[in-house]
């Protein structure tokens, strides 16, 4: 994949290397607290449901943000790990009577293990080939979910009523778990990418050869990122299963992988906040456009196109460019670097 086509500066108008001020720790802590405490004061079940949908999409999108945005590897098959997380957790609980928390851990570990296994052959290829490879993976899993009906329930799916498997107490408080996991995932990605490993990730993406020359263990890091991505996607799957209280194959198909890609790009490719913002757009815009009835899809597609056209760094990139543009106007005028 061409290095010159990745407009690094546009995507990251702010970098630590240039030492500009960042929102920083305290804003993120405050926001995290707000998100975790959201269920305590949101009274509308509908809104709460949407927030949980956003959270689950965000975690799934974070997995792609990590893999794509920070290391430049294109994965069109995150839905595969999403499915593994969801189905493993459900099958363990319903068919084998495994308690919920243990099942969740096993499901997430399995997601990471699958990511590791896949990464061995997969990370030898790059660019479009990698895209196609992950695409094929996603499609394979999609078909298997239907064909392995004795295990997965096929299209009838597997029901997992919350009250039965989580107990009433936990089921009632499940929104806290969902939002708490989002915050945890966010901080995981944050800490991963802001320390030295994070700079290594950027190096991986922009110039693998140079990174290798600097002694960064490229292959190992790529695998690690892929594994964490798989684990995050599996986590999203586990949450999805309990949130919807049933797992059916139609939630884990190619469309889902595409939606995740849309979320990441709309929100902002190299930004963990972008994953959340993108999820908000994907979940809330169609709801706001419901009054359009059948024209909703068309209008939504046009809105997405407009965002992509006018905000190359996604929504987050656009906001950052706006603010840094304001800041720049106060400083000396810098000539724009045309690429």
């Amino acid at each position: 994949m061409s290095t010159t086509t990745l407009r690094t500066q546009r995507e990251l108008p702010r970098t630590r290397l240039h030492g500009r001020r960042r929102p920083g720790f305290w804003v993120e802590i405050a926001a995290s607290a707000l998100v975790i405490l959201l269920p305590s004061f949101v009274a509308s079940p509908y809104l709460m449901r949407l927030f949980q949908d956003v959270a689950i999409w965000s975690i799934l999108a974070l997995s792609l943000t990590l893999v794509l945005g920070f290391t430049g590897q294109i994965s069109l098959g995150q839905a595969a790990f999403y499915a593994v997380g969801a189905y493993t957790s459900v099958i363990l609980q319903t068919a084998l009577g495994v308690p919920a928390l243990l099942a969740w851990v096993v499901a997430i570990v399995l997601g990471m293990a699958l990511a590791y296994l896949i990464s061995v052959p997969l990370l030898r290829i790059h660019g479009h080939f990698l895209a196609l490879g992950t695409l094929a993976l996603g499609l394979i899993v999609e078909t298997l979910l239907v064909q392995l009906a004795p295990i997965t329930g096929g299209h009838d799916g597997i029901r997992i009523p919350g009250v039965e498997y989580l107990g009433e107490w936990m089921q009632l408080r499940f929104p806290y778990i969902v939002l708490g996991t989002l915050v945890a995932a966010y901080w995981l990605v944050r800490n991963l990418t802001q320390h030295s490993m994070g700079r290594a990730f950027f190096a991986l993406r922009d110039d693998p050869a140079g990174a290798a020359a600097l002694g960064i263990p490229v292959a190992r890091y790529k695998t690690l990122v892929f594994m964490i991505g798989g684990g995050l996607a599996a986590t999203a799957g586990v949450l999805y299963a309990h949130h919807t209280q049933v797992v059916t194959p139609d939630s884990f198909g190619f469309d889902t992988s595409i939606e995740v890609l849309l979320i990441v790009i709309i929100g902002g490719m190299s930004s963990r906040l972008g994953a959340v913002v993108g999820a908000v757009v994907i979940v809330f815009f169609p709801e706001w456009l419901v009054f359009l009835e059948k024209a909703e899809n068309l209008v939504f597609g046009l809105v997405v196109l407009a965002i992509l056209l006018f905000l190359p760094g996604g929504v987050v990139g656009g906001v950052r460019t706006f603010f840094s543009g304001l800041a720049r106007r106060r400083e000396t005028h810098h000539p724009e670097v045309a690429s």
């Binding site: 407009r7 394979i140 190619f254 196109l305 056209l309 190359p312």
Partner: protein
Amino acid sequence: MSTFLQLAVSGVALGSIYGLIALGFLVIYHATGLVNFAQGQLLMVGAMATYLLLMQVGLGYPLTIAGVIVVALLLALLFRYGLHRPMVSRGAPTTNMVVATIAFGLVLTAAAELFIGNTKYGVDPVFPGAPLVVGSVSIQTQSLLIVVVAWALVGAIWFFFTKTLTGVSLRAVGLNRTAAAVSGVRVSRLITIAFVISVTVTVIGGMLVAPLIGAGPEMGLAIAVKGFAAAVIGGMSSVYRGMVAGVAIGLIEMLSSYYISSAYAPVIAYAILFLALVLMPARVRQSGAHA
């Protein structure tokens, strides 16, 4: 044996459609480095336009073909000037543009559904009548037409790229845009030509395939994935390789579906694809990937 031949015939016809899609992918990719994920929807537009003009409005095939090509031209111009050029001039990263093509495809699907309908419609073949029978193998006239037209188009495009000044200039633009511009090549105009070729070829593919499987808003997705696969397996390089890869995919699909399992055929096809990608020697891969 006759079964094998029959499957092979179907595989070749099916694969030729995949090859046409691959052709569409490759032309734009070579000129701009863009992977166009709306290729399947472009096929769908061709099919829907054919349905509209041929079956609803009632024009005969000659006028329908002309009409469909006009639609292709308009669509290509819309794609190029409404989407691609604005994004390039704003310096959008390639990934964004790829996703923009996905969004463009969604818009096309939504528009087709809104303005024409949400079910699948039958389209008359160009040569109505009984299928041709050669020995124990039968082939529908439309399938034969697909093979003939697809390969003719590939040949024409190959000729264009290698023997005409415009085509060679287009390749130059793809290899090194700056050098081409410095050499006096009108880059922007050539990129538009690339879009026109790509869209037209794919739209014609839709027109060809509609009589076999009908025309509906959702028809493009599965075909596009295999077309993309054909382009990638062909090395993202020559149009002939894309065609051959397409036919190979079609054959694998048909044969594995019969000889192994029709339920697991997609898994087998994608697994073979996956293996092919992984086992392809890096040399071949690198020569195809955009440097």
